[in-house]
């Protein structure tokens, strides 16, 4: 995983709650055997008409949100299926952070494993971002992970919480498996006490 670096990015608004991972990437893209190239399936049923053309009413197809790197949405983002393809699709499309009042657990974990930053803000702070986007075309936010802060050019900012361990993993781009294997002797000791229960 690449270490996270602070950035300033265009913000796209997805004004929906309970956006599930079936919506983020539908089933047909789950037949992929690689992680790359899934951006084309992102929000597929919303982004494209049945004829396969861009759906002009869907927010990500509005020209002012082309190149957005931050997605802001309502509560319980990423609910439902455990498909990590949802995270891979968001990243492949170009998103580096998602802001919402709350996230579903498995999606939240999956984001952390891939370096997609999930930022939980208070509902009123998320509201403020939606309003700023509406008022200021080309609205951008800066994400400072070390300081746990999002801010805009006009001086608005909000603090977010993140577990110290998750923050370190993101900032240093740590390989989870390599970290765990440092504790191989403890795992082996555990296994001596707990043999495989089958056959």
């Amino acid at each position: 995983m690449k270490p996270f670096t602070n950035f300033t990015g265009l913000v796209a608004p997805l004004d929906r709650s309970n956006v599930d991972t079936d919506q983020i990437i539908p089933k047909q893209f789950l037949k992929a055997v690689v992680r790359s190239g899934l951006g084309r399936g992102l929000f597929f049923d919303w982004r494209f008409t049945p004829e396969g053309k861009d759906n002009p009413t869907f927010v990500l197809n509005h020209p002012q949100y082309k190149g957005a790197e931050i997605l802001v949405a309502r509560a319980n983002f990423g609910s439902g299926s455990s498909r990590e393809h949802a995270v891979w699709a968001l990243q492949d499309y170009g998103f580096r952070a998602v802001i919402a009042p709350s996230f579903a657990d498995i999606f939240f974990n999956n984001c952390g494993k891939n370096g997609l930053v999930t930022i939980i803000l208070k509902p009123e702070e998320v509201d403020a971002i939606f309003q700023s986007i509406a008022k200021h075309p080309g609205y951008k936010l800066s994400v400072d992970l070390a300081a746990q802060k999002v801010s805009d050019e006009a001086g608005w900012s909000a603090h977010f919480e993140i577990a110290a361990h998750s923050k370190r993993v993101l900032l240093e781009g740590l390989d989870d498996v390599a970290l765990t294997l440092e504790h191989a002797s403890m795992i082996e000791a555990y296994e001596k006490q707990h043999p495989v229960p089958y056959r």
Partner: protein, 468 residues
Amino acid sequence: MALTLFEKIWQEHVVMEKAGQPALLYIDLHLIHEVTSPQAFEAMRVAGRKVHAPGRTFATLDHNIPTIDRDRPIADPDSALQVEMMKKNCREFGLELFDLASPDQGIVHVIGPELGLTQPGMTIVCGDSHTATHGAMGALAFGIGTSEVEHVLATQCLWQVKPMTFSISVDGKLLPGVSAKDMILAIIGRIGTDGATGCAVEYRGSAVAALSMEERMTVCNMSIEAGARAGMVAADQKTIEYLRGRKYVPKGADFDKAAARWLEFKTDDGAKFDRELRIDAKDIAPQVTWGTNPGMVVEVTGKVPDPAAMKDESARKSVAAALEYMALKPGTKIEDINIDRVFIGSCTNSRVSDLANAAKVVKGRRVAKSVHAMVVPGSQHVKLEAEKMGLDKIFIDAGFEWRESGCSMCLGMNPDILKPGERCASTSNRNFEGRQGKGGRTHLVGPEMAAAAAIAGHFVDIRNWGNH
């Protein structure tokens, strides 16, 4: 100190923990399938890693496989490739695979308990959000993503933040005609699709204790639809009897020894939960979802809600969007909603008792002319057992299709999908937009309600079925 069932399992599986960090949790059983594992194996290969504990990982083919013509090659090239990769990965990494030719093949959450792989007190994971199903056996079971699948393959452990504990107690007796599916749908309707986020739920109370093992699986299965990490029911004598004699459980005196240990995994008197909810079983009626998430649910005697009557703006918006997708008018009686398709199957409701209960409703009747109905058993063992009971004949005589085992139209990764605009009464777990096919409209119900809808052509209150 008095501990909850969850805390007992958690404590026994912590390999190491440091303050302020997630715990390194040992995983007893890892189940894998063809859709969420290929990228994990690829990463293992790139890093030159071996599977740490091959005897604790079992694979099946379930998500994208066809449910007919299994003797022929898989027509869809992408599905065929995933199946081939699963076979190759299991061969190369030395893992047991229940492939399409195996008598043990089936939906991952059906075969785990059925084969006795799932045992009380275990930690169980799978790259699938419905893994909480296994919690019905008194295990701590939860869904993970592909990166975590890789992590478990490589280390047999996971870094986990300890969830909160949530006791959901259903007391009293379920009324006649009310199923385990209705119980869990009513719970989700009550607390919402994020009502248990961050929690390990323990289902308790006399109505839960009275459920059969298969009914407990239905309840635990849908824990994720309330946002829960895990859902569980403490093992009791029913659990022990269910497991006795199954393929992967200990035999003879070893079984009795294991059973005694399994029964210790229960919440102590006086143990405290972070959250608690009590529901009276007699308040639960047969449920039907009307919207695009499982929390959008009403009693079968109810009506489609009116967004205009809602004060909260965000609720009003989501209800309006859901009704537009579902092509439903506010105030429509649920029993007046006509359906085109019926799907009886999925890891929620595809076990022998589910099929037997649906068959009772169907027996001697005919599927409505306007309805296309199918039954997809959860596993090859379920299929065989149901056929021994003559259930296949009851369904086929009534006009249902009788299929081979798999996930099928629950998520429509195989050819079993709804056409745009088709409306389906489904015993599965998700009514998300496009879940069963782009533009398809899903109403979640229990097996008896689905069977009755197939016959009537619209939803009916199963409690009045005798009058039909």
